[in-house]
Subunit: 318 residues, 4 copies
């Protein structure tokens, strides 16, 4: 029912990963049902089918980049919209059964995003170990506890849950890395504007790529809309054909973002609206400082120009 | 009173020029009072002061270019708006007292716009005659009838009124030249949109001219607004400082032109709205063919994108 | 002969006008022959035919704007190039035969540019006088001395030469007005770059005017070329068809201006190069301050990027 | 030694993957030494250190998208350049020990790119099987032959080498998927232009992202350079900070690409040149048709504009 807060949550499992940690920052989730899914597609399809009210999945990491499967799934099936973002600092540990010592480690289980973010540490401290890709940080801890690998790169919640000893803490190459998660629901009225919102879009452009991408950016730039993220993913039609994922400053209810969206609708092969939601403000050195509006494009300027136009249309002194 | 059609007309005199001819194409003017003014400033000030309801003055000629005094006066004093345009084909005659023969002509009176448009004819047929600038085509005919000059370049109405013989007809170098006149009134609600309208603006840009002029054109281009005229005039602040006069396709009541106007208001040092009015359609080889809207910018596209945005904002299927 | 300085000069006459004054700021002209022409076309044709080495004609005034006939003539016939610019402050006087008093003045002879620049003074001091357009400031003084008009607006040199009394001095509405003159010769190698040069162009664009004009400005903007003048003149093909006259910062020998020129050649219907020549630096409140190069587009940046490219092409460390 | 063809090759192992297959399309590799590396970083570091002359690694897949580790490694250490691209059609098989039947399969080993490309097939035919990420297609086949998993998604070369039975062939959701590999060497003179080349760049832009990315695209667009790929990767400085990987049409030795590169050097925070090399032409429905040059930007247009500029600079008739 519209207006009912979500109470049935699904998230990318297994338990004991950063995604569960992200979900639990949301008060409603503490009181609701929380179900781990085996994959991002499974989580999102659970929302599409109505089995769940909302899904929490990872979208991007400040070091590892986008999570391709999330992007692909957001545009592949029935429409879904993002209703919230959660940004979490990432903290990786090397964990192993008690008694393990670094020189004896031959195999390390890690999610590829995790091993990518600990690359320099691994080269420096475990140059001869084989890094084995596993499905998640939680799975790495579990498989290490089971004795399949000598050690795991995992989150504190994973080492804890699987009773592993922490051989090294904060092993990420960038100690200020963050992961951004999104909560996704079936389409509905977006949350109201807060004055500091993000709007996510998927944009398909036609064949002439320089000109078409220029046109997309010009539609935004002319309205003073800033981009905080741009990712390309193959559209599946061949090398060189892309869908662009854009995160813009502003809310779909804003006049200027409304103008820009209409412009994109007209100039692009297709545009999929993926949601307007409050920006998650976090602290730390990786936190994005808001970009001030360019000259003439503050909210006050926009209001002034709208009032001026109204006077002209009414035949009043401008 | 608003809604009352104008009945007191002033026009750039004297009688017997193209401007009077332009005024008389307007039905209301046939029944109203028609007063010639000695100059464009006098005509426009007569409207500003309330002595007249509307003024007809020349704005540009397809060969001679803009009429600078009209542009300057439109932005110099209290606001005025253009409510109508009239485009007249230009037909120049060489007229002289009966009995005059070409070889005997030593002096030719002509308005500078007229002599500029007959330049090649004059070089070919009267290479040794002195061309004397006079204030108007009507004044050329009058002064020739008075015997001050041997011949005049004038309009048919002028030769006729001053009983001059026509030594040569259609002497303009471009036989399809036209002059565009505008009717100007005190500000008020613009005439309603007709689907084929022109909007005139005066735009002041800041110091960095390439970037600023690019920004102006981008505001128009992004909304699919075409320019049919661009003129620069000195703003009076020194060499290199301009006010630009723009004629755009569309009406201030149109959504897309409204967006573009707001954008200009925000990015330019100043914008003066000079009116939205129906385009005068005339025939002939110099007639401007309408430029089709670029892809994605037809009125249907604009309506489609507005409806799409409304659905998104309402949380309905897009 | 190439390399021989010009010695036979023609200028827009008659004697006693600002144009003669501009010519005489050039040392070579003091020693050469100086011939007045009756019109701008006559002056330029005298250079085209080889009768003269160079012509000096007015191009624009900081208040009255462009001199249309000069622009039109520069693109109408065989190519000519500008080799020098001269900027003169403009000083207008009201001059009349000795004994004349203001209240008795019924007619004032003036060049239209002159009366336009003294408009407010005339309204305030001679509201009832008829202003008669004449061909030049010099002609105004001469005709007043002959008794045809009661007074003249003219240059100091004109009042002086025709022994008129000065009834009012510095009567221009803008006391810092300047006129810009150009010296024009048959095409040849441009004068060498000085580091502070101007390049003049005439650019014809195709039908879609917003897009095409945007493309022209983008070619300049991308290379950090600034515009110091942009004028449109009818191309003669009908309302809405223009040739644009551009003055750009830089010299045709500069790498960046060379790039921009090639870009214009490719994107425009036609480009006519009108010359590269040193900027005339004058003082006074109307003087244009040089616009600093935008970030990344200083001469040093351009040299750095050229050296970087050369290293890459040579396979050297970048 | 410069000019000596490479003879010591390293490639992303293990044996029996598409990468080995790509390497073996190069004649020199058939006669040289071919060494598998355990990872992309290991392969590229082997070239940086001088142990190998060239490395072959995957760059992108038409369905799965970019290979992030390759992008990150290309910009992370000492410069390397791409000297060749190889595009291979992708053909996936489901392989298992002889006697295995579909209904009995509980676990499927697959590289994440492979399982992503066979997603729909897996949902339709093995909805209940667990898909286990492994490091490579070759590793999937090997681990299945070892009995660790019930089946593998792999390349024909992998099934063959590990004596697995093919349960299903051509199981990719897009039957025309291709993978693009690059050969990478230490910096040196690029291969000569062929008339159909690609240039790869990594571009860092400053903080204002819309404006800065617009500037990058404008530098390319103005010179008629087309983009065939644009990928963003986190620059490691926080969410919203990117390095863009661009593939452009043309060769660094071309005049127009040289201009564009200099422009990027001037406007971007940093540019890393990653190589100019012949475009690999392959056939099939996914093959990118070359985009014709926009009007005015063909090679003939570029040559014409260069010749025109040379004439102007020499003072010759244009």
């Amino acid at each position: 029912m519209p207006g009912t807060p979500p109470s049935r949550f699904v998230y990318l499992g297994p338990e004991g990963t950063f995604t569960e940690q992200a979900l639990r920052t949301i008060p409603a989730a503490e009181h609701g049902a929380r179900t781990p899914a085996r994959s991002v597609p499974e989580a999102l399809d659970g929302v599409r089918s109505g089995d769940f009210d909302a899904a929490v999945v990872p979208l991007e990491n400040s070091v590892g980049g986008a999570v391709p499967v999330t992007l692909d799934e957001l545009v592949a099936g029935d429409p879904l919209t993002i209703t919230r973002e959660i940004v979490l600092p990432v903290r990786f540990q090397l964990a192993a059964p008690a008694g393990t010592r670094l020189p004896g480690i031959r195999s390390v289980a890690a999610h590829p995003q995790a091993s990518a973010q600990c690359r320099h540490w691994l080269r420096a401290h475990l140059p001869d170990a084989t890094v084995v890709d596993v499905l998640s940080n939680g799975a790495a801890a579990a498989a290490t506890a089971d004795g399949r690998y000598d050690a795991a790169i995992c989150a504190p919640i994973g080492a804890d849950r699987h009773r592993l000893a922490v051989l090294a803490d904060n092993i990420a190459d960038h100690d200020d890395a963050v992961t951004r998660f999104v909560m996704v629901a079936r389409p509905g009225s977006p949350p109201p504007p807060t004055g500091d919102d993000v709007t996510s879009l998927a944009v398909y452009i036609a064949h002439d790529r320089v000109g078409a991408l220029l046109a997309v950016l010009t539609e935004l730039s002319v309205r003073g809309i800033n981009l905080t993220r741009i990712e390309s993913r193959p559209s599946g039609e061949g090398l060189g054909r892309y869908v662009f994922f854009l995160d813009c400053t502003g809310h779909v209810a804003d006049a200027r973002l409304g103008e820009a969206l209409q412009g994109l609708r007209r100039t692009c092969a297709d545009v999929r609206f993926l949601g307007s939601y409050p920006r998650h403000r976090w602290t730390g050195s990786a936190a994005e400082r808001p970009v001030p509006a360019p000259p003439g494009l503050s909210d006050a300027d926009v209001a002034d120009s709208a009032a001026w136009l109204a006077r002209i249309r009414a035949g009043q002194p401008a």
